[in-house]
Amino acid sequence: MNVNEYKYNSHTEMSDELTSGVKDLLFKMADDELILGHRNSEWTGLGPILEEDIAFSSMAQDKLGQAQAIYNLLNQMGEQDADTLAFTRNENEYKCCHFVEYPIGEYDFSLMRHFLFDAAEALRYNSLLNSSYKPLSDLAKKFRGELRYHTLHSEVWIEQLSRATEESKARMQSALNECMPLALGIFEPSKYDDLLLQEGVFTGEENLKSGWYEHIQNILTNSGLKVPDLSSITPSFGGRNGYHTEYLKPLLDEMCEVYKIDPEAEW
């Protein structure tokens, strides 16, 4: 798309219905980044080797930075500021998928989640490059470099560990089996999908999922893993509508503990 030909340069040009759809998309993106960035930061100082500790922490920081940027965009669309959105909402107001809520587990789980989630994330941002809503396209451009590194990092790790020792192969396979239903939860359909597609804002979850499945299937199969057939999996849905796993509430309580000592205070 020509840089000067965005259909929507500002949300003020959009219908109320479309605005709601864009906000819904932004909330789920931001909440995913926030919660997964938070989870992945738990490895900082405790990673499997110093060098990887540093790399994984950088990517967790990138995720939080992306969350903040998306909340800022929501703020420009009339929502509250980034800190208030991230640190003071009730559990059922978060739109993150179940996948990001799960505890970090062992490094196999954390890496597999990193691979599956970041592949979806990269495709999502990639499709947003062509969004008819300029701020979304700008956002996608801004994070392109970061995401390239994230996907490279995750692919190298997955390919190498899946082909290494018997133990590591078995671990990666069982991590994959555990992750798949959760990962499909990323693509929980939204009632706004058709509208967003029609208006050229976003390609929609179903399209994203097909592209994602093809992409990860290639890499995982080449790495010697058995990719579960989509028809055999029940996706873990609910997160996008505020129904969460048992893990989200304690995570939020912990994350907001200091902030909530006095939400009016400046920290």
């Binding site: 100082g45 990673g47 080797i49 922490s57 290494a164």
Partner: protein
């Protein structure tokens, strides 16, 4: 982050070095040149440097734990991101320093084994807990400030790889210091609750901060040699004085109380007077009986063990270990 207070071991017995090579070595240091890994060096120089750089590296990786305590609870994006970046930097510093120590011939695995077994020490302050969020602010400001004083001095030392690592470390620490100061300022100028938090944290951390640079150095032939070789760059007391001179006024500016009624600058001598820190406690904690020693080592051990399958999977057993270049 690293202070003085590292105890340099007395040489077990005098090692006879080649007098010609020793003279060349000392002349080089006197001329302000750096020593590089492949240069000839006295055995005692190598041994003391390994010891010092290793302790420094351990202090960084263990130092990631007290502040890491609050990594999942930092309030707001700005603090959350900054704390993550800071703790990450500490891990990065450990990486740089272990490499510098490795150039002297001790592999990283051996150093970490010595850390976990308690054979090798690290900075005493990290055996104290970060009880509240405000503790991380005080650590980031004042412990890092102390570390910078020590590290800037050490970066003018004689061993090339250590100086190069310190150069980058000091650059990053200056962000830590600014972040820590900013954090303390927000608390000290904030709500009564925030002020109380930071005052209590300062009360807790003042004694460890006074311990940070170590006890007064006993002037011995041994210390003199280490200073001549530019291994030890400043006396513990000098660094402590410098720290007090730079930071006590800044703490007082914020209306905080330093829990030492005797603390004052003698206007005639220009020297800070203070209650003598409890050096028995210092020794007790360094030898393993601090509030967090056991936890810190158990956590480090857990991290190494948890990561073992990852490292083992990718290990190429046909490879030989090489001492890194710098």
């Amino acid at each position: 982050m690293y202070g003085g207070g590292n105890i340099f071991e007395k040489p077990e017995n005098e090692i006879q070095e080649d007098p010609v090579k020793l003279a060349e070595f000392e002349a080089r240091i006197l001329a302000g040149e750096k020593i590089e890994p492949t240069d000839w060096m006295p055995k005692e120089y190598r041994k003391q440097l390994i010891r010092m750089i290793e302790q420094h590296a351990h202090s960084e990786i263990i130092g990631a734990l007290p502040e890491g305590t609050w990594i999942t609870r930092a309030p707001g994006f700005r603090r959350k991101l900054a704390l993550m970046a800071k703790v990450q930097d500490e891990v990065g510093h450990a990486q740089l320093l272990y490499s510098a120590a490795e150039t002297l011939g001790k592999p990283r695995e051996e150093m970490i084994n010595d850390l976990i077994s308690g054979k090798s020490k690290y900075s005493n302050v990290f055996n104290y807990p970060a009880v509240t969020w405000a503790d991380t602010a005080v650590i980031a400001w004042l412990i890092d400030a102390g570390a910078i004083i020590n590290q800037v001095a050490n970066s003018k030392g004689s061993y090339g790889p250590y100086c190069r690592a310190l150069e980058r470390i000091c650059q990053e620490e200056s962000f830590h210091l600014k972040y820590g100061h900013d954090n303390v300022v927000f608390l000290a100028t904030g709500t009564p609750k925030q002020r109380q938090m930071v005052q209590e944290a300062l009360n807790r951390w003042w004694p460890p901060i006074m311990h940070f640079f170590g006890p007064s150095d006993k002037i011995s032939v041994h210390t003199e040699t280490l200073m001549r070789w530019k291994v030890k760059m400043a006396s513990n007391d000098d660094m402590r004085q410098k720290f007090l001179d730079m930071y006590v006024p800044k703490i007082w500016d914020l209306g905080l109380t330093i829990p030492d009624p005797k603390l004052r600058k003698n206007e005639e001598t220009g020297v800070w007077e203070y209650t003598e820190p409890d050096w028995n406690e210092f020794k007790r904690v360094i030898n393993g009986d601090g509030p967090c020693n056991a936890e810190r080592l158990a956590v480090r051990k857990m991290a190494e063990e948890k990561g073992k399958w990852v490292r083992e999977a990718l290990l190429n057993r046909n490879e030989m270990y090489s001492v890194p270049l710098s």
